[in-house]
Symmetry: C2
Subunit: 419 residues, 2 copies
């Protein structure tokens, strides 16, 4: 094995041992340990900021962009927010041990499906050091061991955050290997994590969650031999039906596109029913608010024309493509061809149109008369999220504690044999 493979094999094997301990920790033990980790983060603020200053100096020297430097930068407020986030996770309802359903068979055998942790979760992320704390807290609260692989530009910050977290966990009896940080910036370590399916005799990683830009997610999805929860694109649509209230439509369109343009829940394409009385009013509102608009056939001759690629583009910027469609059927067809199964919304007063849209649009999140910017675990009441998934298995949409668990069947007999 390469050095990276040997390193990851050691980490995964330790993680599996820790996972066995974590799986049976009572809720209050996990919560107490996470509150101690939050306290340790607050106490370690000077060390964390010093480490971050080292990372910032290297990153500045390396010529990283302003946006990347901003993601990397920590200050007292950001460290406090990180600690608050960890403490908040400690207050969430623990899904582990919940009985999903129970049945008594005619032979008297009682069968329950009981929520249990997944086991070992790998998190692969980029420059934001707060993911070290956020992701570790969520994974541990759901009873999983976690292996964290952050961006090389944040290695010193991540080490300091990780050391503080672990000191808090260990002080409350949680194994140190519950949250391990990959100690190298060797990119081969990522490859070793993505193929850690146990076939080399080491512990397996049960699930990988990538947190970062499209390049990272695409690499993870292409190379992974273990399951991945992620979304690659958020090509989200708002469809304004002919029956929509124009004022509500305008408010939702503006919010969906412009509240924050860089988030995965932002609208990229506006679909307007040909029966909607005044499509240009919606477009004018976007333009007036500073959005570049690229229009399809039948709309303004003075605005830029959308080309084919626009319908498949996630701008993550103040740009929107706009198409006229033939009612809800046209909207459903457009989304089936161009959507990314993330979040799509309809604005309508016609309940039949809305019901069809909600049933037939095949996305993780479908909304009626609400902005796509609600695509967020916090907004969904989940407390925090490890990410948003657009795959079809296990968990869809915002993934929080429950998505980091699975179940087992537990049967209670009195000597039943099948005979």
């Amino acid at each position: 094995m390469t050095d990276a493979a040997t390193l990851i094999a050691d980490l995964t094997t330790r993680a599996r041992t820790a996972a066995r301990v974590l799986a049976t920790l009572p809720t209050d033990a996990k919560a107490r340990a996470l509150r101690a980790a939050a306290d340790a983060l607050r106490a370690a603020e000077p060390a964390i900021l010093a480490a971050n200053a080292t990372d910032m100096a290297s990153a500045t020297e390396a010529g990283l962009s302003g946006a990347m430097l901003d993601r990397l930068r920590l200050d007292a407020g950001r460290v406090a927010a990180m600690a608050d986030g960890v403490a908040a996770v400690a207050g969430l309802a623990d899904p582990v041990g919940a009985i999903i359903d129970e049945t008594t068979r005619p032979n008297g055998l009682v069968l329950r499906r009981v929520r249990v942790p997944i086991g070992v979760i790998g998190i692969i992320y980029e420059s934001r050091p707060n993911v070290t704390a956020d992701a570790a807290a969520l994974a541990v609260m759901a009873g999983n061991a976690v292996i964290l692989r952050g961006g090389s530009e944040a290695i010193e910050s991540n080490r300091a955050i990780h050391a503080a977290m672990v000191s808090g966990l260990v002080a409350c009896g949680v194994p140190a290997d519950a949250a391990q940080l990959v100690p190298t910036t060797d990119r081969a370590a990522v490859g070793a994590m993505l193929t850690a399916d146990g076939s080399n005799g080491a512990g397996a990683i049960d699930l990988i969650v990538p947190r970062g830009g499209k390049g990272l997610v695409a690499r993870v999805q292409n190379e992974a031999r273990v399951p991945v929860l992620a979304h690659l694109d958020g090509i989200n649509h708002v469809y304004v039906d002919g029956s929509a209230d124009p004022a509500m439509a305008a408010a939702i369109v503006i919010d969906a596109k412009l509240r924050r343009t860089g988030v995965c829940g932002s609208m990229e394409t506006l679909l307007i029913d040909r029966a909607f009385p005044d499509p240009m009013s919606l477009i004018d509102r976007l333009v007036t608010a500073g959005c570049e608009v690229r229009v399809g056939p039948g709309l303004s001759d003075t605005l830029p024309r959308a080309v084919d690629a626009d319908w498949d583009t996630e701008y993550l910027d103040a740009i929107a493509s706009v198409a006229l469609v033939d009612g809800v059927d046209g909207a459903i067809d457009h989304i089936a061809r161009h959507g990314s199964h993330h979040t799509d919304a309809i604005v309508a007063t016609d309940e039949a149109a809305a019901t069809r849209f909600l049933a037939e649009v095949d996305s993780a999140i479908v909304l009626w008369n609400a902005s796509t910017q609600f695509a967020d675990g916090g907004e969904f009441g989940l407390g925090a999220e490890i990410g948003i998934a657009t795959g079809r298995l296990h968990a869809r949409g915002p993934v929080a504690l429950e998505g980091l668990t699975t179940y087992k069947w537990v049967g209670y007999g009195t000597g039943q044999v099948r005979g």
Copy 2:
């Protein structure tokens, strides 16, 4: 693309179109179509038996083993059982449309998680032609399009069964592409199914379910680029605690090992607590019943000794390995090292020991005072199963209709913006 890749791309693209129709079919439309498919199977009995005779002749000429010939063989009774199975699936509760949970956010947004079909399911199986009908019925009842790839030795039987099924479905308005049979025996078609992740621009297969021997499952797990639900091994344990009732222990051990030895739920290793009064009584019962027993240290000197490989072997035969262990801790440790996360049972009157075993043994199914041979969707009250899964994500243990669905988030607003 190769011929096989082009063929599968055509099938998957058709399947996705059919899946959009299936996803919104009401329960009674699916049930009616499956009952019509069952009737069509009964009516096609002569054609199915004629096709099967062709397969049997080729298989006999090719020198297939008696066991393989038996799996391939159809007769009037087996065709009737196949039709009854399809009709039974039509009577199962439809999971699609069920509301998993619902929450109203402080801003008034109502969020539901609603069960929806997965989409397109690929089934890869070997010689049993009844899988063509069973698997198609389950997939379609859960609202999925299915692509069936059976064993080359059963191709004529599968074609006849598939033709009958589709005639019944189509007569009730279900698209013909809801259940497609791969029309070639080219092995490259399997590879094309396993990599049908949509990256070639064709429709994706969302989930592959292999049905067959370990060689097939291993190939599917190794080559698949799309999610797989399966189990490779069923290295199942019965642990007899010192507190066990001896008569119950003997009955469960005999049933777990010998009721049927070739099923994935059969016991392969018996673990006996050193505190159990008379371990040899259990071993003698097995030997008397015709089971070969291979023992670990501390047990009979006259019986064959188990070697290291025995603890990791799925015999699927009248052979059992037997080890003495130090209480429930010893049993949990042995299973952690050698188990395959399938089905493990404890026989005990000591509730504390049983509770620990059920919590700490990391298997899809854990049982207290019941035989491992209950590992079966029918026995679990699921009506029928597509298979048993030992992975950790999406579905574990017997997978039936619910396991062939996923969910979407459906939000009902009144104009909410996040702004």
